[in-house]
């Protein structure tokens, strides 16, 4: 038990920090703890909002990690998984007046269907052709969302707005409750993914990434494992979309575009492809960088964003977490040497 606590101390510390974050920020701003509990306005609320966005991005990036980083399938239509979740939630609540559980039920159905749709093309096409086919499927969905024929439901190119969120988790009034809900969902999804990667199924998925031919030679029907990864990914991405719709006042059609898939790719690249922690680290860096640059530099923010990504690709190719894992032994030895010098 003690060993378990010590070996996972980083995760526990992060979790503790995230639980305490709203209160710490509130106290720094001079509010009493009671104020923080009743959701007074102020800096704390804003930081919570930023954190909620990071949690949603993390869930989304995790869902991409399981097919790209773990199973090795490069899909360019991943934003469709997210956007289907986001739009379906919005339409179900706004146009059909469904309750949240019923909406979630429909989400499960829809994400299974779209994972099967992607799975349909899986056995036929591999590698870069799979990327192109998924790009095609994704952009057809993007076009459908943007088209004026369904404007009544999707809001066409303006985006879906006016979704009335149930009062007990409304992000405007009950931000703290929403914060903890998003945090819980993220932690649960993370644990699920940790379990998946370490399960026999997950191991086979890693084997498929490393060498699909060899996995087949060992007698695994790789199609079923890829389909399982796609299903898991689709369900999680739809959940991220669900939270996105509840949190954001407007669902922009950009969430269905190629840019949103690229965002997931970049988050993983920053954090480290194939490392689950990397999704969280990457999401933090991605969101804060975007926010900071937009605030202090303005228009040319995406120029600097792009430059940072190019530098990342060239010089930190394994991402922050990946590089840390590779170099942690060296860093530890370096510290010890440095300390030994001082102790002399």
């Amino acid at each position: 038990m003690k060993n378990f606590l010590i070996s996972h101390r980083g995760s526990f510390l992060t979790l503790l920090l995230l639980i305490l974050l709203p209160f710490i920020v509130g106290l720094f701003n001079g509010a009493s703890p009671a104020d923080v509990f009743v959701n007074g306005n102020g800096q704390s609320k804003f930081i919570q909002g930023l954190a909620i966005e990071i949690f949603i991005l993390t869930i989304y990036a995790l869902s991409f990690d399981v097919i790209f980083g773990i199973t090795g399938l490069l899909s360019f239509g991943h934003s469709m998984f997210f956007a289907v979740g986001a739009y379906l939630t919005g339409i179900a609540i706004k146009s059909f007046g469904l309750s949240l559980p019923a909406t979630l039920g429909w989400l499960v159905v829809a994400s299974v269907v779209q994972a099967l749709l992607f799975g349909l093309v899986l056995p036929r096409v591999k590698g870069i052709t799979f990327a192109l086919v998924t790009l095609g499927l994704g952009s057809v969905f993007h076009i459908l969302v943007m088209s004026s024929e369904f404007g009544e439901y999707t809001g066409a190119d303006v985006g879906l707005q006016g979704v009335i969120v149930p009062a007990f988790i409304s992000p405007a009034n009950e931000r703290l409750r929403f914060y903890f809900m998003a945090l819980t969902v993220m932690v649960l999804i993370y644990l699920l993914y940790q379990r998946f990667v370490n399960s026999p199924t997950g191991r086979v998925c890693v084997a498929i990434r490393e060498n699909e031919g060899r996995a087949q030679m060992l007698g695994y029907n790789t199609f079923y494992f890829k389909l399982a990864a796609l299903l898991l990914s689709s369900l999680t991405a739809a959940l991220a979309g669900f939270l996105h719709t509840l949190y954001q006042p407007i669902v922009s059609p950009n969430t269905a575009g190629l840019g949103y898939t690229v965002a997931a790719l970049l988050i993983l690249l920053i954090g480290g492809v194939g490392t689950l922690n990397g999704a969280f680290v990457g999401a933090i860096v991605f969101r804060l960088l975007d926010y900071g640059l937009r605030r202090y530099i303005g228009e040319s923010a995406s120029f600097i964003n792009g430059a940072i990504y190019v530098l990342f690709v060239l010089f930190i190719p394994y991402g922050i977490v990946g590089t840390w894992r590779l170099k942690s032994l060296q860093i530890k030895q370096g510290w010890e040497r440095l300390l030994a010098k001082f102790n002399k």
């Binding site: 096409v125 095609g136 076009i143 004026s148 492809v273 120029f303 990504y309």
Partner: protein, 514 residues
């Protein structure tokens, strides 16, 4: 005969389907509309082909999926526009750009230099970064002080939209004089050259692979050319500006095409040598790198040329109006240079619908000859099949890689500058065209050169016919309903076609099985 049938069955079926599709399409519209739509489809197909062929050459030989290709197409268009509408800025830019490139043109000399330097391990780590930092600082200090006729994007009276409008109505623009103020000319010149050489040396130090280089005069050709351009640009600045302002719009257009293509070639060469080359062992990172480059390129275009859309003026050769226009036959057009020509009583725009397909055809044939009849083409074709084998035979494949990348980007830039007068310039033209080119390549076969041409033509035709039918509507047989395809159906239809074809033939129509 039988084996011929079996070999070309896909090709024959495609041609048959296309023929059926075209005859079916011809039933619903007048003959003149049909011809115009056909020509428009060819024009869109030609532009798509220029981008797609470069993309497919690069993908075939280098295995790099260059997602920045659309952005490079767009940069070519904006470069061409600058030469035609603001020649003074172009002349001013010539020197600093040539100086920036010159350091990188010395590529093969640096390993030799690096092998002479003996340093400790920690110094070896720091040195490249220190050099790059010095180079960036030098650039940052000199470049803003270099005299360039810059316009104010935010200010309407000085924005590119206004320039475009004025140039289109034939008004001559004022020359913005530029002179060295804070720095003297020789110091700025030498400083930029030094910064470029230091930066290129620093970047080359990251590449630790041992290489034996034998120096000869050939290594210095490209830097000599770059330096000559720089010197000419700075010495004859005013003379060249006046000369370009005095040129007729035809010659100016010709210069613009040349400049855009050559700058695309230079840009491609530099990009491959500095950014793509370190990443051949990690293909997925190349993909992300090109995505990042694409974002940077779009932002740069936004910062320099602004967000609003504008059109490049057509050369006078294709822009005549007057009593004799539209021309009724070719000789008539030649005499009057009308902008439109009458074909089966329908008006056809000469530049958009006749000139561009002709250029597309010329490029198609010349690249085909390059691939089939020259030594370089032979190496490229062999490299597409198995680049390791070619390397084992003692051919410097890396140099061919750089050449092909430069050629591909040059083709995209050529497409951009040709499309600028007909499609107009906007920040998003690159992305939409890249999607078209990707679809065309997926349909035709990713690494197949004839496939790129076939796919581009198919994509162009389908899109144009759907747009046309969106205007006139399709009468569905046995009913009274008239179906009008809506604009979203234009991209959606080609995307769906791509998905279907890839599911039936994962390698595309003309791609080879692996």
């Amino acid at each position: 005969m039988n084996s011929f049938l079996r070999k070309n069955i896909v090709m024959l079926v495609t041609v048959l389907v296309m023929a059926v599709f075209l005859t079916a399409a011809a039933q619903g519209m007048e003959k003149k509309d049909f011809v115009i739509t056909l020509l428009r489809g060819l024009a869109v197909g030609s532009i798509t082909f220029l981008v797609a062929s470069g993309f497919s050459l690069i993908f075939g030989l280098l295995d790099v999926l260059n997602l920045a290709h659309g952005t490079l197409f767009m940069i070519g268009a904006y470069m061409g526009w600058t030469v035609v509408v603001r020649p003074d800025t172009f002349v001013d830019l010539l020197t600093p750009l040539a100086l920036i490139v010159s350091g990188f043109a010395l590529g093969d000399v640096y390993p030799l230099l690096a092998s002479r330097i003996r340093l400790g391990l920690s110094m070896k780590r720091i040195l490249p970064w220190a050099l790059i930092l010095v180079s960036i600082l030098l650039f940052g200090w000199i470049l803003p002080r270099f005299p360039i006729a810059i316009w104010d994007v935010e200010n309407y009276a000085q924005s590119p939209v206004t320039f475009s409008f004025m140039a289109d109505s034939g008004a001559r623009l004022p020359v913005m004089p530029a002179a060295f103020t804070e720095v003297t000319m020789p110091s700025a010149f030498i400083g930029l050259l030094l910064a470029s050489i230091i930066g290129a040396f620093g970047i080359s130090l990251f590449d630790n692979s041992p290489r034996t280089v034998r120096l000869s005069w050939k290594n210095f050709i490209s830097i000599a050319i770059a330096l000559i351009i720089a010197v000419v640009g700075v010495a004859f600045n005013d003379a060249m500006t006046t000369f370009l302002y005095g040129l007729s719009s035809n010659w100016l257009f010709f210069v613009a095409v040349l400049v855009a293509t050559l700058s695309g070639v230079a840009l491609g060469g530099v990009m491959e040598a500095t950014l793509i080359r370190p990443l051949y062992s990690r293909p997925i990172y190349q993909l992300m790198l090109t995505l990042g480059m694409s974002a940077i390129g779009i932002e740069m275009v936004r910062a320099i040329w602004g967000r609003p859309e504008f059109v490049m003026p057509k050369p006078a050769f294709f822009n005549g109006t007057g009593g004799a226009c539209p021309a009724t036959n070719f000789a008539d057009w030649w005499a009057n240079n009308c902008s439109t020509i009458l074909l089966l009583d329908g008006r056809v725009r000469v530049y958009n619908e006749i000139f561009i397909p002709i250029v597309g055809l010329v490029v198609l044939i010349s690249i085909w000859i390059l691939l089939q009849r020259t030594r370089l083409g032979m190496i490229i074709r062999a490299g597409v099949q198995d680049s390791q084998m070619v390397e084992a035979l003692g051919i410097n494949v890396r140099r061919v890689f750089t050449m092909v990348f430069a050629l591909g980007v040059g083709l995209a830039s050529l497409g951009g500058v040709l499309a600028a007068p007909s499609m107009g310039l906007s920040n998003l033209m690159g992305e939409s065209l890249l999607l078209n080119a990707l679809i065309a390549l997926a349909i035709g076969g990713l690494t197949s050169y004839p496939g790129a041409a076939l796919g581009s033509v198919i994509v162009g035709m389908i899109q144009q016919f759907i747009i046309k039918y969106g205007q006139i509507g399709i009468a569905i047989p046995f009913t009274e309903i008239i179906f009008k395809p809506t604009p979203p159906l234009v991209p959606a239809s080609t995307v769906m076609l791509m998905v279907i074809i890839l599911l039936l033939l994962p390698n595309g129509l003309l791609g080879k099985k692996e």
